[in-house]
């Protein structure tokens, strides 16, 4: 009987540990995405993501104009550009509890590319446990740089 009780208690431990973890601020992926520019002919899509401490920004150049005889659809078709016409940058922000303000933990400089999609991704230099969010800027050159910034929500990270 005693052995059975001990085994039952041991079997419960993983479940209890999981419950404790679920009660805490568990890290997961935060994403904010959407079109940050749309003039009908040229659209810029911004996909900003904070996955634990890995930061990703995806810039997409899109258009309403279909290839061949497909139907016109809002910002749905690829609009490939020459090299240097797509640009993206992200900033990782940490909540500074001591000053009651957001601090920039790190930023990756502007990355440029071509085609219809540009990926910018890198781990943040850890700034210690706190709430973190990511801001990403997505731009396409269309006679001038057009696009915009998006920010994810924030979550607690230990790094």
């Amino acid at each position: 009987m005693r052995k059975l009780s001990v085994r039952a208690a041991l079997a419960l431990l993983p479940a209890l540990a999981w419950l404790a973890g679920a009660g805490g601020a568990e890290a997961h992926t935060l994403v904010n995405s959407g079109n940050v520019y749309d003039n009908g002919n040229q659209c810029v899509s911004n996909w900003t993501s904070q996955a634990h401490s890995y930061n990703t920004l995806i810039v997409r150049s899109l258009t309403n104009t279909p290839p061949y005889h497909f139907p016109v659809a809002n910002c749905s078709y690829r609009n490939s550009k020459p090299s240097g016409y797509l640009a993206g940058r992200w900033e990782s922000w940490k909540w500074g509890q001591n000053v009651g303000a957001w601090l920039v933990c790190g930023t990756q400089g502007w990355t440029y590319g071509g085609g219809y999609e540009l990926h910018v991704g890198r781990s943040t230099t850890g700034c210690g446990g706190s709430y973190y969010l990511l801001q990403g800027g997505a731009f396409v050159y269309n006679g001038g740089w057009v696009g915009g910034w998006l920010a994810t929500g924030y979550e607690w990270l230990w790094s």
């Binding site: 679920a22 009660g23 090299s83 940058r89 957001w102 400089g109």
Partner: protein
């Protein structure tokens, strides 16, 4: 008696584990606001992860020092750069003068290359 003790022990263990989980969930001060995208100057994190202080004073940096709101290069200029290497992460550190004394300003350097 043993059964009661076992039940009591299990209940105690449950309370400790749930208590730790609850404390972890409520122990952090939530941000009171979101970053202001229109702010001209911002605080930056230093080597210890806290707000950077230079010469003992909190410093703010211009948003333009982070890279600006829009890309600074034209496509022609950008195409001259290597597209194979993405830029390294930049972090803020106190600027030091000729004799190693802090000037009170912050500069951005490549992460991992900064001096202590």
């Amino acid at each position: 008696m043993r059964k009661r003790l076992m039940l009591l022990g299990t209940a105690g263990l449950l309370a400790v584990v749930l208590g730790v989980g609850y404390a972890a969930s409520v122990g952090h001060e939530q941000p009171t606001h979101m970053p202001d995208p229109a702010a001209d100057e911002v605080y930056v994190a230093g080597p210890d992860g806290e707000a950077l202080k230079c010469n003992g004073k909190l410093v703010k940096v211009k948003r333009s020092a982070l890279g600006g709101q829009k890309p600074p290069l034209t496509p022609d200029q950008a195409a001259q750069q290597s597209v194979l290497l993405q830029p390294r992460v930049k972090v803020a550190r106190c600027e030091k003068g000729a004799k190693g004394k802090e000037t009170g300003r912050a500069v951005f350097v490549d992460a991992g290359t900064e001096s202590p």
